[in-house]
C-alpha cells in the first residue's frame, strides 16, 4: 500500500497508509493528520494543504502546474523550493512519500 510519512513542525511523525488514486491531502484529512487543513477540499482554491516534500521523493511526483505554483505564493508559511500543495499529489501503488507539514496553514 502507498504510505505517506507526515512529520509536523515539532518533529512528530505519523505514518499513514493510503489508497492509490487518492491525494496526499485526502489521506491526511481523512485520518485526522494535524497540519493539513484543506478548506477547499482539493479544488486548488485555498493553499491550506501545503507540505514540504523530502528532496529524494520529488522525482516520484507529478510536475507542478501554473495554478498550484501561483497558489503556493499565498501559503501561511512561506514556500520553499520543495513546497507542494498536497491536494495535487496523487498516491500511486508503490509510493512511499516523506513530507513535512508547516507550523501553520492559515
Amino acid at each position: 500500500m502507498p504510505t505517506v510519512h507526515f512529520t509536523d513542525a515539532e518533529g512528530t511523525v505519523r505514518d499513514v497508509e493510503g489508497n492509490a488514486g487518492d491525494s496526499v491531502m485526502e489521506t491526511a484529512v481523512r485520518n485526522g493528520v494535524p497540519g493539513i487543513v484543506a478548506e477547499c477540499g482539493g479544488s486548488l482554491s485555498c493553499a491550506t494543504c501545503h507540505v514540504f516534500v523530502r528532496e529524494d521523493c520529488a522525482s516520484q511526483l507529478p510536475a507542478m502546474e501554473d495554478m498550484e505554483d501561483e497558489m503556493l505564493y499565498g501559503t501561511a508559511v512561506d514556500r520553499e523550493d520543495n513546497s507542494r500543495l498536497s491536494c495535487q499529489l496523487r498516491l500511486t501503488d508503490e509510493l512511499e512519500l516523506f513530507v513535512t507539514t508547516p507550523e501553520t496553514q492559515v
Partner: protein, 433 residues
C-alpha cells in the same frame, strides 16, 4: 416552583445521565466543531448527529467534480470511521430532531422523529440551511430538482443521462456551477435569472458582468430579468418536459434545476425560544441568546467579524471558510475560553475554467479598481471603502487573491491608484497606510 421541581425529578429519573455535547447537524461546521474540540482537549463524549443517511461529507463538489463524475463519493467523506471511533465521537446518521427539552443550565434531551432520545449536557446547532423552494405550477413534477445535499446530487446524476435540455433557475453560484458542469457534460443548458445581473449581491457589478460575458462566450444561454411561469409535463403527465416563461416562451427541459438561495434552519431554535433573526442570533463567541447553546456556520447570524466593520453590524455567512472559523470560535466557547473569530472571510466558486476566489466582504464599498489581464485570462476587482481595501473578486488570479487576503489579515492597504495595472504584482505595492 414545586411543579418544576417534580418535573425535573421526573426528567432526571427517565434520563439518568445528561453528559457530553450533542451537535445537531453533521455538516462542515458540525464536523469542524467536533474536530476542534478534540484538538483543544475537550474530553467529554460528543454525539455528532445528522438527518442524512451519509457519513458527513463535503458539499462544494456536489455541483462540480461530483456531478461531473471526476471524484467519487468516498472522496467527499470528511473523516474515516476509525477517526471518529478513535476520538470518542459518536456519529449518528438518519435521525431528524423534532423537539428539544432544555433546562436553564444548558442540558436537556433532543427527541428524534424516530422516537429516539439524545440527552446532552451542552447543545450545538450546526443545522445549516435548506434550499429555498420555487412554488409555481408544475413544481412538483418529476425532474424538478434542487441541489443542496448528497441525495439531491445523486438524484440529479441519475437523471442526467436521459436529458438533452436543462433549465437552471437562478444565476447564483450554485446555479452557475451546476450549469457549467452540465454544459460540460454535453447538455443544452439555459440559465434563467430573475434579477438584472448574475450572482446577486455576492459580487459587484463588474464581476457579475465579467461572468455574464464569459459564460455567454462559452456558449451558455443566460437570460436575465427572466422568470418561469410554469413547468409543463410530458405526455405521461408526471415528468417535466418544458419551462414556460412569463413572456410565453417555451423552453424544453427534461431537468429543471432550481438554485434560488437558502433559508436557515431555525425551526429548533424557534422551538427552544432562542432569538432568531435571519438565522440564530449569536454573540461574538457563537453563543445563542440562552447563553449556553452554540450555533455555528450557515445557520448563525453573528456580529460581522471583519476588522473595521460598523459596530452592531450583523451578518450570516454561507461558506466553508465561515463554517470552519466559526466552529473554532464555538469550540473555544464550549471549553470556557473567549476567542474571537480569526481570519478574513473568503469564498470560492469554480465555473467551467473560471476560478473565482473572493477575499473579504465587499459590503459598503465606495470605489472599485478593475485589473483585467485579457492576454492571460486573469481578471480581478478590488473593492475600497474610504481609500482602504476591503475585498477582492479574483478570476484565475490567485496571486491577486492571496495578496488581498494577506493584506486584509494584516490590516494593510493596497492603494487604489497603483493597483489598476495588472502588470504590477499587488503584494509589491501593499503598504501599512
Amino acid at each position: 416552583m414545586g411543579t418544576q421541581a417534580v418535573e425535573q425529578e421526573t426528567a432526571t429519573a427517565t434520563v439518568p445521565t445528561r453528559t457530553g455535547l450533542l451537535i445537531i447537524g453533521a455538516s462542515q461546521s458540525g464536523v469542524q466543531l467536533a474536530v476542534s474540540l478534540r484538538a483543544l482537549g475537550f474530553d467529554e463524549h460528543i454525539t455528532l448527529l445528522g438527518d442524512e443517511d451519509h457519513r458527513p461529507y463535503q458539499r462544494p463538489a456536489l455541483s462540480k467534480e461530483f456531478l461531473q463524475g471526476t471524484v467519487e463519493s468516498e472522496s467527499l467523506i470528511f473523516r474515516s470511521n476509525d477517526y471518529w471511533a478513535g476520538h470518542n465521537v459518536d456519529l449518528v446518521k438518519g435521525e431528524y430532531i423534532v423537539r428539544i427539552d432544555k433546562e436553564a443550565d444548558g442540558s436537556g434531551v433532543a427527541h428524534a422523529s424516530s422516537g429516539r432520545e439524545f440527552p446532552f449536557k451542552r447543545l450545538a446547532l450546526t443545522v445549516g440551511a435548506r434550499a429555498r423552494k420555487l412554488e409555481i405550477d408544475g413544481s412538483g413534477l418529476d425532474g424538478v430538482l434542487y441541489l443542496r445535499n448528497a441525495d439531491d446530487a445523486l438524484a440529479l446524476k441519475a437523471r442526467v443521462g436521459d436529458a438533452t435540455d436543462v433549465v437552471v433557475i437562478g444565476g447564483g453560484f450554485i446555479g452557475l456551477e451546476a450549469a457549467s458542469s452540465l454544459q460540460k457534460m454535453g447538455k443544452n443548458v439555459t440559465v434563467l435569472e430573475f434579477g438584472p445581473r448574475l450572482v446577486g449581491r455576492a459580487v459587484g457589478e463588474e464581476t457579475a458582468e465579467y461572468f455574464l460575458q464569459a459564460h455567454r462566450s462559452r456558449g451558455l444561454d443566460i437570460r436575465l430579468n427572466t422568470s418561469a411561469a410554469r413547468f409543463t409535463a410530458d405526455d405521461g403527465g408526471t415528468r417535466v418536459a418544458a419551462v414556460e416563461l412569463q413572456d410565453g416562451t417555451v423552453l424544453p427541459a427534461q431537468i429543471v434545476l432550481i438554485g434560488i438561495g437558502v433559508i436557515p434552519n431555525t425551526q429548533l431554535a424557534d422551538q427552544l425560544g432562542l432569538a432568531v433573526d435571519n438565522g440564530v442570533v449569536v454573540d461574538r463567541f457563537a453563543l445563542a441568546s440562552d447563553g449556553t447553546t452554540v450555533a455555528v456556520g450557515d445557520v448563525a447570524n453573528m456580529p460581522n467579524p471583519v476588522p473595521g466593520s460598523e459596530p452592531g453590524e450583523r451578518i450570516r455567512l454561507e461558506s466553508v471558510n465561515n463554517a470552519i472559523e466559526h466552529a473554532k470560535v464555538a469550540a473555544y466557547s464550549l471549553t470556557g475560553r473567549r476567542e474571537e473569530y480569526a481570519g478574513i472571510p473568503w469564498f470560492w466558486s469554480n465555473q467551467a475554467d473560471l476560478k473565482l476566489q473572493i477575499a473579504g466582504l465587499c459590503n459598503g464599498y465606495d470605489q472599485t479598481v478593475v485589473r483585467n489581464d485579457r492576454e492571460r485570462g486573469k481578471f480581478s476587482v478590488l473593492y475600497y471603502r474610504q481609500g482602504r481595501i476591503i475585498a477582492a473578486d479574483c478570476v484565475n488570479a490567485p496571486l491577486d487573491f492571496m495578496a488581498v487576503k494577506n493584506a486584509l489579515a494584516k490590516g494593510l492597504n493596497i492603494p487604489a491608484d497603483a493597483a489598476a495595472d495588472p502588470g504590477i504584482q499587488l503584494k509589491t505595492i501593499t503598504t501599512d497606510s
